[in-house]
């Protein structure tokens, strides 16, 4: 059986044409992979920014918050899927929510470290010149925190890309992870290799892209020191 499938696979015109039991096209896998992972990173950021800001305002809160987000990171995703499947069903959302929670373990410290990297005398000068709270945050703190923050975002994005593979266990929501499970099921190593290499290439490309974004957003940091 496996020989038969392998033969049929080999007879296909391109390595990117997937066997029929893979329900998505190669491009479809890339789409799921990017939408879910990067979406989760973005959602994580939306949560981590205010949370991190709160933690740097109230330093006593930070150890507890850090404890909680690290603890969440330690929860096996399978367990979270089981809990979520009753609520969100077998959907991308069921993969998306745990991934978002996992990014917090990277993004919350990233936000806090970033905000803490803003020199005290810079904030003092900003206050003394009459910046309001919100304006100071947007125009001074956030831009100066950006190099540290972007480093965390890059780690979160790449780690989400690989973590989401487990989404294959609840259906076809693991991106390239689907290929690992199907390759295992149908004894097709080619699928596993294709999935793995694709995932690595995609991760590297994502990281490069985010590095580019970082360079564009922080021209001042270029000659300062190299971040991450």
């Amino acid at each position: 059986m496996s020989a038969l499938i392998s033969t049929s696979a080999m007879s296909q015109t391109s390595v990117f044409d997937l066997p029929s039991y893979v329900q998505s096209s190669y491009l479809g896998l890339i789409r799921t992979q990017l939408v879910v992972s990067l979406g989760a990173t973005l959602a994580g950021l939306v949560i981590a920014l205010p949370l991190g800001q709160l933690c740097s305002r109230l330093p006593k809160l930070y150890p507890a918050t850090l404890g909680v987000v690290t603890l969440i990171y330690a929860i096996p995703s399978i367990a979270l899927f089981v809990l979520l499947i009753d609520i969100t069903g077998t959907s991308e959302t069921t993969v998306f929510i745990p991934l978002t929670l996992y990014t917090l373990a990277i993004l919350v410290p990233g936000v806090v470290d970033g905000i803490r990297s803003v020199p005290r005398n810079v904030l003092d000068a900003a206050d003394g010149m009459g910046y309001g709270r919100v304006r100071r945050y947007l125009a001074v703190e956030l831009p100066i925190a950006l190099p540290t923050l972007m480093a965390a975002i890059r780690v979160a994005a790449v780690s989400s890309l690989s973590l989401m593979s487990i989404g294959a266990t609840i259906g076809n929501f693991g991106g390239f992870g689907d290929l690992f499970l199907l390759g295992l099921k149908f004894f097709d190593n080619r699928l596993i290799w294709l999935g793995l290499i694709s995932l690595l290439v995609l991760s590297v490309l994502c990281d490069l892209l985010l590095r580019g974004v970082q360079r564009l957003l922080t021209p001042w940091a270029r000659s300062l020191r190299s971040f991450g």
Binding site: N121, V122, D124, A125, D127, G128, M129, G130, W220
Partner: protein
């Protein structure tokens, strides 16, 4: 004018940073707050732009309570310069300087033009406009800090140890340039320093504070050196206040003798042969060195440095005299030509005469 009316600051833990301070910082003058660490000088400064709220008393600017204005408006109307400059690392020099005008709604082009004017005022090369702060030296950063504080042309400038973080040579040139800028712009300045020499050099009036935020003395630099209010102030001023006081006494009263000047190759007169030292000058009149009339062929003794006659202080004259092995100081004109010479003894007599005059004035 900034008026402090029994201003105090007590922190919740009971420490008293400022205790019932009452001083007035006059318009267009530099008022220095000086004292050891923990004397509340920085707290006092920061209460002026409400970065710290006083726990008692009032601060008035031109008669109106600073609490009557919205805090952002108050701060945008007061220039603020701090140690290490506190420049925004993510903005270029020009953008840093344009900060407050931009906050006040000036459009980008006008703000940039203003930034360029200020760079010129503080002596920064316009080529630095698009650099980032970390690409500048400490002294340059501090100049940007001053330019940024002046950008919106505030009437008041608060300066918190602005020159403390740079090396002594750069500090001296920053201080001199700062005084020149002040002569041009005439701001009402509150200046905090722990360095009493800096206070005396730049202050029009000096408030000496002691631990716990008590005012020890509020006086002009000269008064401070002549009549320190108590042992604390005296000790704080250091042991050489007698010498430093001479900075405020002009050398106009010194009788410079021109008969000790000789040009090279000119025959000495009989009277000159009686003098202990003669000053050899070159053709335009610049001093070369001291010679003994009896031994005219020995190599001349260097004069050390000269003082500018009638312009420099007695301190400069005395220093020139004590520096030179002959004990004589050379007075020169603005072009560096020797005008005459004066001995330590004559300078000492001038100092005594000045003391007598000021004693008379007190009586």
């Amino acid at each position: 004018m900034i008026t402090f009316e029994s201003v105090s600051k007590k922190y919740p833990d009971g420490t008293e940073a400022v205790a019932g301070l009452s001083i007035e910082a006059p318009d267009a003058a530099i008022t220095v707050l000086v004292g050891p660490s923990g004397c509340g000088k920085t707290t006092t400064l920061r209460m002026t732009n409400r970065l710290v709220e006083p726990s008692g008393g009032r601060i008035l600017i031109d008669g109106s309570d600073i609490r009557d204005r919205p805090v952002a408006q108050l701060r945008r109307g007061i220039g603020y310069v701090i140690q290490h400059a506190g420049l925004f690392p993510h903005r270029t020099v020009a953008d840093n300087i344009a900060t407050v005008p931009r906050l006040l709604g000036t459009d980008r082009r006008a703000a940039r033009k203003r930034a360029q004017e200020l760079m010129e005022l503080v002596g920064l090369d316009s080529a630095l406009a698009d650099r980032y702060p970390h690409q500048l030296s400490g002294g340059q950063q501090q100049r940007v800090g001053v330019a940024r504080a002046l950008a919106a042309d505030p009437a008041i400038l608060l300066m918190d140890e602005p020159f403390s973080a740079v090396d002594p040579i750069v500090r001296k040139s920053l201080q001199e340039q700062f005084l020149q800028i002040q002569a041009e712009v005439g701001k009402t300045i509150l200046f905090v320093t722990h360095d009493v020499d800096e206070a005396i050099r730049i202050g029009d009036r000096i408030a000496v504070l002691r631990e716990g935020g008590h005012l020890a003395q509020f006086a002009t630099p000269r008064e401070l050196l002549e009549r320190p209010a108590d042992a604390f102030v005296e000790q704080f001023l250091g042991l050489d206040r007698g010498i430093r006081r001479l900075t405020f006494i002009p050398s106009t009263g010194l009788g410079l003798r021109a008969d000790a000047l000789v040009k090279k190759g000119v025959e000495l007169s009989a009277a000159q042969l009686e003098l202990p030292w003669l000053l050899l000058v070159d053709e335009p009149g610049a001093p070369i060195g001291w010679i003994e009339p009896r031994r005219p062929n020995e190599p001349p003794i260097p004069i050390g440095h000269a003082f500018i006659a009638h312009t420099d202080s007695l301190r400069a004259a005395l220093d020139a005299a004590v520096l030179c092995p002959t004990g004589w100081a050379v007075g020169v004109d603005a072009e560096g030509r020797a005008v005459g010479v004066v001995s330590q003894e004559e300078i000492a007599a001038a100092i005594r005469a000045e003391h007598r005059d000021s004693l008379e004035a007190v009586r």
